[in-house]
Symmetry: C2
């Protein structure tokens, strides 16, 4: 049974938590607070069980801290897939945990393939599993995808989004330094390639627009290029932006503010390492590392404040 | 310890088996021969264990049939990820099984992310696992990646390729119908976008060239567009092409032949459904479904013959 359109659900959750901030979970065993890794008997990153156990505890504690303050979390699959099938199970454990907190869960999986194959990625990565042995399991509310293969590679994801009331964010302009050599090349009509991709996303998403005027197909646009963000915001009125790159990647709240319309809607802003590893930052050194959860909470509140200020709220 | 360059290994295996044909494993429970699904007690696609068990048996039997005849197999991760973590474990089981047959294994995973994240995908999807509990496990010999994020998203995969003697195939021009709207747009310098991407791949691969003059970084270029294949072959002298789209997707051996240089090197050609599901084809109806393995073998031999003929061998 189709639920409420994903974009409407996301906008309602943002309104409730009064922030478009999304916390990104990129857990790396070697980066975790000593309070978590030292209590493991094996204390050995080469031991999968020990490492996953630490990552699960860390993720669970971060989710508990951030759940009252933000609408959504983004869980980065790479940091779990590194641990092969056990890691994939842990990824799904974290998805369940986040969902149980009432958080909207974005699975950052960046899948994409030709239509016949994409159907199976959409089923595994986005749909709620339909297996007898897993009948309580939910998939994430949304995932990221790579749309380089075009419309027929996207269709299976959009079908699942429609059927389950879920969302999809397609890569348009990413936040990494080398993105420009691929995504910023100019086309004969004068527009950069990312703009072409953005307009395709806006077009593909037209069949999934909710009551608030936004589509369940959104776009990933980095915070590290505010001018491009502004141009895309102008050109893609129905597309919600997932904006990574805040904090550790160098984007500021002021940069990210370009992703929003004047009514304050239009985007969610992701910060990962600057929040989950806040205990490493100079300004929180009096609390860290023993009270690392407090530093996560303070970093969330501070980032929320910065975003609100940049949005003039 | 670095092994032989992947391109050299692949070329040697092609010479030994006298064919650039690669068999693609895209196993779908509902498509399997009745001989395999009917013997399952549950006979229920919604039961993960039963479905995976059937897919594993099918894959194992296909590998045994094709191993004497081809150099490499391509295992499509999507058809395993559909079954979540148990499916991922089955994917790795099939990788081990194929490697045990001496086949070169291409993991068709199409991963890609910003550098900080791509490191973990490269570790999980391409490197040989470095965990105490999995010390006998090997990763695939090569994987497919999506290079839309540019050079810094590729670097971690290339680092693993260098360290482990492995290979990477980046999507350049895919075989699906809608690829054109993204990949064929013209740039201001007159070249289509896929050519720009292809030249980037050739450039990124320059540091991984083996003794035979080909790089361990190859390109995925569909068989469904022979003119584009010819143009790319001309422009990218050091890049090996992985050419999907033969058979069920409509590409012919004659089309795929454009991927080769006059010396007969330069590409591998993948056929998936037209081989593994050959028992469904009219011409093999006297053997199918009971003798489905024989139809797989006949389809491999026939496809090899068609490719050899198209290459004038």
């Amino acid at each position: 049974m189709p639920e409420l359109n994903f974009a409407d659900r996301l906008l309602a959750a943002i309104a409730e938590k009064k922030t478009p901030l999304v916390v990104g979970l990129d857990p790396v065993y070697q980066q975790l607070p000593a309070a978590i890794t030292q209590q493991r008997e094996l204390n050995d990153a080469e031991d999968i069980e020990s490492a996953i156990d630490a990552i699960l505890e860390f993720s669970t504690r971060v989710l508990k801290v951030v759940a009252p303050h933000v609408a959504a979390v983004k869980i980065n699959s790479a940091f779990f897939e590194n641990y092969l099938w056990d890691g994939v199970q842990a990824y799904h454990d974290v998805v369940q945990e986040a969902a149980a907190h009432g958080l909207i869960v974005i699975g950052d999986v960046k899948r994409g393939d030709i239509g016949n194959t994409a159907r199976y990625y959409a089923q595994g990565a986005l749909a709620d599993p339909d297996f007898l042995s897993l009948d309580e399991l939910v998939g994430p509310d949304a995932i990221t995808v790579n749309a380089y293969l075009g419309q027929d590679s996207m269709a299976p994801f959009l079908d699942v989004a429609r059927e389950y009331g879920k969302g999809v964010f397609a890569l348009v302009r990413t936040s990494n330094p080398a993105a420009a050599e691929v995504q910023d090349v100019l086309l004969t009509d004068g527009q950069p390639f990312y703009m072409h991709m953005g307009k395709l996303v806006e077009k593909w998403g037209a069949g999934l627009i909710g009551q608030r005027g936004y589509s369940a197909l959104g776009a990933v646009v980095g915070a590290t290029n505010p001018d491009q963000l502004a141009a895309l915001r102008q050109a893609l009125p129905s597309t919600l932006f997932l904006v990574p790159g805040l904090g550790s990647q160098g984007g500021t709240a002021k940069d990210a503010a370009k992703a929003f319309k004047s009514d304050g809607t239009g985007a969610i802003i992701n910060a990962s390492r600057s929040i989950i590893y806040a205990f490493k930052e100079e300004k929180y050194k009096d609390l860290a590392p023993a009270n690392w959860e407090k530093t996560v909470e303070l970093a969330v509140l501070e980032t929320k404040r910065q975003i609100a200020e940049a949005l003039g709220q």
